[in-house]
């Protein structure tokens, strides 16, 4: 997914390191600081759950592709895998797996394979849940 966690954290530094012109102080800077605070909180969630989410998603997509490999003539063995648990390595594998999943789902829909179509939709819901970020319950100002 983009932006990545390092993108966010580097961005939090960069956007505060450059104070900007006078007309961008005051209320605008306060708003910016609030956004940086929110991003920091979301980054804490991603730090805690992000690697596990990627490992789970990659395994689930691979299992879906494996299950369909025979019926849809998929080259699952050619897809990348990794033992490296960095976000970069997991995302590299994830991109290839997601691309293959998109191709499979298109083929499933074209064939009218309702059972597998529904299974993929359920997988999407699970993927979204794994990747979920929770907003803090901030009061209105």
């Amino acid at each position: 997914m983009t932006p990545s966690l390092p993108d966010i954290l580097v961005g939090n530094f960069l956007c505060l390191a450059d104070p900007g012109p006078p007309e961008q102080q005051g209320e605008f800077m306060a708003g910016k600081v609030g956004l940086v605070a929110l991003l920091s909180l979301l980054a804490a969630q991603e730090t805690e759950r992000g690697a596990a989410a990627r490992v789970a998603e990659n395994a689930a997509i691979r299992a879906t592709l494996d299950a369909a490999a025979g019926a849809y003539r998929l080259d699952v063995a050619g897809l990348p895998s990794t033992e490296d648990l960095t976000f970069t390595a997991l995302d590299h594998v994830n991109a290839a797996l997601r691309k293959a999943l998109i191709g499979l789902h298109e083929a499933v829909e074209a064939r009218g394979d309702i059972v597998r179509h529904h299974a993929i939709l359920r997988l999407y819901a699970q993927m979204a849940e794994w990747r979920r970020l929770d907003l803090p319950p901030l009061p209105a100002r």
Partner: protein, 336 residues
């Protein structure tokens, strides 16, 4: 020369008399335009104004003349700022911009807070859906906006909308997104019925894009940069998208129960709500959102990671719209 001096030179030229600019300050929020408040002093009079200028990078590529003409079309019909001047070339302020009158005495509530309208939620909600209904009910003929905006055939509204936002995802995607792609295919497989009439679509009508008074009255509908002509259900679906209401499942937009909101809209617009068509436009709303967040992620990276609003859009809202899309796809198949 700073922005204030540039503004002074511009206003002095177009108004033909000396203008002083004071209290120039940027307003937070919004990534599609830089927004500044300032006071123009001319002939002893102080005019509170708003400058909307294109940013170096933006969530969405839009034609600012449409936003300007939308304000010209509606400022005397519903709460909306009166436009003052526009420079589509933008030579004098480095980028294209327009200026509008400033509406005083209100606040913009973030939809991402708990109870954003407090005890005024009902008052705000009744006005919010009434105004949206009035936009949807407005006869397009004769509006200044109609001079420039393309008028699609009713049966083409859905396709134009899907083609546009699917194209944005295609162009800006940096990581494969199977959920939104499945949603796009579903939209194309089962198109909605054409609208009864092609109407003005605000394009970003939602919590966070209007000013309201302490008593709950809506003082100004803002952020018309995605305005176009199309199916008015597009706006209604966007306004009630769950993204804009993270903490109150009993209402839409954190304001009113869904059936009440739709009844107010229908009464004000004179249009019925076709639930099947609204379901289609609701799925579309999440696709459109995901397209905007996809662009945000790209702009965040291209812009050197300096605008945190783009990071929030490209990250939290993108993840949330994946959840919304996945749930909608299951629901449309009759699955949990």
């Amino acid at each position: 020369m700073g922005l204030a001096e540039r503004l002074e030179a511009y206003l002095t030229r177009i108004w033909g008399q000396p203008v002083r600019v004071a209290d120039l300050s940027r307003i937070p929020g919004g990534a599609s335009r830089e927004t500044y408040r300032f006071v123009a002093r001319v002939e002893g009079e102080a005019r509170p104004l708003i400058l909307r200028r294109d940013p170096p990078g933006s969530l969405i590529e839009t034609d600012r003349s449409l936003e300007y003409l939308a304000l010209e079309s509606f400022h005397d019909k519903l709460p909306a700022p009166r436009p003052v001047a526009m420079d589509a070339e933008g030579a004098e302020l480095e980028r294209p911009f327009f200026i509008m009158e400033r509406v005083e005495g209100g606040a913009v509530a973030s939809p991402f807070t708990v109870m954003p309208y407090g005890s005024n939620a009902r008052t705000v909600g009744e006005a919010f859906f009434d105004i949206l209904g009035r936009i949807a009910g407005a006869d397009v003929t004769g509006l200044p906006l109609a001079r420039v905006a393309e008028t699609p055939a009713p049966e083409d509204c859905w396709r134009i909308a899907v083609d546009h936002w699917a194209g944005v995802i295609e162009a800006d995607e940096q990581h494969p997104q199977p959920i939104v792609r499945a949603a796009i295919r579903r939209l194309r497989r089962r198109p909605p019925p054409p609208p009864r009439a092609v109407r003005v679509v605000h394009g970003d009508y939602r919590g966070g894009n209007f000013l309201h008074a302490p008593d709950g009255r809506i003082l100004a509908v803002l952020d018309w940069e995605m305005v176009h002509l199309g199916d008015p259900l597009e706006d209604l679906a966007w306004a009630i998208d769950p993204l804009w209401n993270p903490f109150d499942p009993g209402t839409v937009a954190g304001m009113l129960p869904r059936d009440e909101a739709l009844a107010i809209w229908s009464r004000a617009s004179g249009l019925p709500v076709d639930e099947a068509a609204l379901a289609w436009w609701s799925l579309f709303a999440a696709v459109k959102g995901q397209a905007i967040w996809t662009s945000a992620a790209k702009e965040y990276r291209d812009g050197g990671f300096k605008e945190p609003i783009l990071a929030v859009s490209g990250w939290y809202t993108a993840r949330r719209h994946d959840e919304i899309l996945a749930a909608a796809l299951l629901r449309l198949e009759g699955l949990q």
